[in-house]
């Protein structure tokens, strides 16, 4: 067995065999079916489905709202992470635990709850209505839903990075006469930059594929408030498997690209971390 280092522990063949078998059966083969289904389409038909005006409209909303949600999450995620790491106040532990709520809460529940809160007569919607801001059933609602479900990813990326900011550097900057903003820009921001970018990418990745919470709060109007996952479902409901597979392929490729970006960002962050330790 030159493929692995020798070990006295038993069970390598059994566990690795079971893992690869189960992984192939449940994950890899079904995903391969999608790729094959999209690949077996005539090129012209594939392009027609993927670049149809309705599909383009859905990409604009899905990617635009996800990018906006990820940006909001990076900004507020930084504030929340900073608050949790640097300050002591009553209820800090509870809030820290609550950050993971969107991760554990079913998306259908967040969907109907957010819609109710931001609807015309909802707890928050009623104060936005007189200002002329409509959230529910618009692209804003889509952004709010995507912000909620991807929020933990931004906060949890930033928390460990903020912990490792070297406080003595901040102190040194302050004693040397740097202003707080200058110290923030030159010491804290560079130190947490990899974490900020990772948080953005993780939030974005989670938001792009989201379906459950969005369909309740979006109006689901073609070209306006229709996200790409919903368009896939509509194709499937019309038994247009090939159209659905083509759109699914687009989303899958983008997910892989994002996944690759995350891995590269995390490797970059680790390298910087190692360098900083020396």
């Amino acid at each position: 067995m030159s493929l692995r280092k020798p070990s006295v522990l038993p069970g390598f063949g059994l566990t690795l065999g079971f893992t690869t078998f189960f992984l192939s059966a449940i994950v890899l083969l079904p995903l391969a079916a999608l790729i094959l289904a999209a690949a077996s389409m005539p090129w012209s038909e594939l392009v027609r489905v993927v670049l149809s005006p309705r599909a383009l409209g859905s990409y604009r909303l899905s990617f635009g709202a996800s990018a906006l949600a990820a940006t909001i999450n990076v900004v507020f995620g930084f504030v929340i992470a900073w608050t949790l790491v640097r300050y002591e106040f009553p209820g800090r532990k509870l809030i820290d635990a609550l950050i993971d709520m969107p991760f554990a809460l079913p998306t259908a529940v967040s969907g109907i709850a957010l819609t109710t809160v931001f609807a015309q007569h909802g707890w928050i919607g009623r104060y936005l209505e007189p200002l002329g801001i409509k959230v529910a059933y618009t692209w804003l609602g889509v952004t709010v839903a995507l912000t909620l479900i991807s929020m933990p990813f931004a906060v949890r990326s930033l928390q460990p990075a903020l912990l490792e900011v070297q406080r003595d550097l901040e102190d040194a900057a302050e004693t040397l006469g740097a202003s707080r903003l200058y110290a923030f820009r030159r010491i804290i921001l560079p130190a947490v930059l990899p974490a900020l970018l990772t948080g953005f990418t993780l939030s974005f990745a989670r938001a792009v594929g989201e379906y459950g919470s969005v369909i309740f709060i979006a109006g689901n109007l073609p070209m306006k408030t229709e996200i790409t996952p919903l368009l896939i479902v509509i194709h499937l409901e019309q038994f247009d498997y090939r159209g659905a597979a083509a759109l699914g392929m687009v989303m899958l490729l983008i997910s892989f690209a994002v996944l690759l970006t995350i891995n590269l960002l995390q490797a970059w962050g680790r390298r910087r971390h190692v360098r900083a330790a020396h």
Partner: protein
């Protein structure tokens, strides 16, 4: 792709502040309260208000109407279906997670990082796609559609499809909870047990399992919460047949769209309590200090 979670004892750098000069100046206090205020306002609007709404709406017509909504046969059927699905999916994914963690954490072999990436794959895929791939395989116009119909086997729009889609979506949770934990705990004790003559299974049950039990518990509970709450993937494969293939989240959608708000939010309140329980277990597990990354 789930968030990496810091160790609880490190979450706050507050303790180190006691000896720092110039901490309580006028500006530093202003900045502090701006940060805390912004955080609380953001979380209140986005997180606390929706959570409170779930219960406010569920109890809008009183306690009796709340409990009456569970007497509805379709609601009861949805709860039963969700419990059945979780009862199959969670144990299977737990066994997989244990096997994967043993292989990855105990041995060094080529292609390990590829294997870890592939295990995480379902987390990167949209839930809609997770459901669609099974429709492409087993649906009427899918690859095995005709064969399945000839043999009168239904997978899509039936229980097996729901289970498969749920299994795909919750596939990585136990594994990715256990792999870093077991890697960190090391192999010394297992190697000692084997060298002293214990068998593989005995070593696993008497040495490894007690070490990882808290991490395992959280992985299983998270997997369970995600399995019971999955919406997108199950929605694609279920066919939404009332009382037959409607899980709890799908039933919430139907009740909500029919303006049965008390019913919809009553079912939603059960899933919200499950999510709260999951987070409570996570906090407890972190406090025991077993879960470290």
């Amino acid at each position: 792709m789930a968030a990496t979670l810091p160790r609880p004892e490190l979450i706050s750098a507050v303790a180190a502040d006691a000896a720092r000069p110039g901490q309580h100046t006028w500006t530093s206090n202003l900045v502090r309260w701006c940060f805390i205020g912004t955080s609380l306002a953001f979380l209140a609007a986005l997180l606390v208000a929706p959570l409170a709404t779930v219960f406010a709406m569920a109890f809008a017509r009183g306690v009796e109407a709340y409990f009456a909504s569970f007497a509805d046969p379709d609601t009861a059927a949805a709860i039963r279906l969700t419990l059945t699905t979780a009862a199959v999916v969670v144990p299977v994914n737990t066994v997989f997670g244990l096997a994967a963690a043993w292989a990855i954490a105990k041995f060094e072999f080529r292609g390990k990082s590829v294997l870890i990436t592939l295990i995480d794959l379902p987390l990167a895929v949209s839930p809609v796609i997770s459901g669609m791939i099974f429709v492409l395989l087993f649906g009427l116009h899918g690859w095995f559609g005709v064969w399945l119909q000839e043999h009168a086997i239904s997978i899509i729009f039936a229980l097996p499809g729901i289970m498969l889609a749920t299994m795909f979506v919750t596939f990585p949770y136990v594994a990715r909870e256990l792999i870093p934990l077991m890697q960190q705990l090391g192999n010394d004790e297992e190697e000692a047990a084997i060298t002293l003559g214990a068998g593989g299974w005995l070593t696993f049950f008497r040495v490894t399992l007690p070490k990882i039990r808290w991490g395992l518990l959280y992985g299983v509970i998270l997997c369970n919460a995600r399995a019971m709450g999955e919406f997108g993937a199950v929605s694609v494969v279920s066919g939404h047949i009332r009382g037959l293939t409607n899980t709890m989240p799908l039933h919430i959608e139907i009740l909500y769209n029919e303006y049965h708000f008390v019913g919809a939010f009553a079912v939603a309140s059960l899933l919200t309590m499950l999510a709260a329980l999951t987070l409570a277990v996570k906090s407890l597990v972190e406090r025991t200090g077993y879960r470290r990354r």
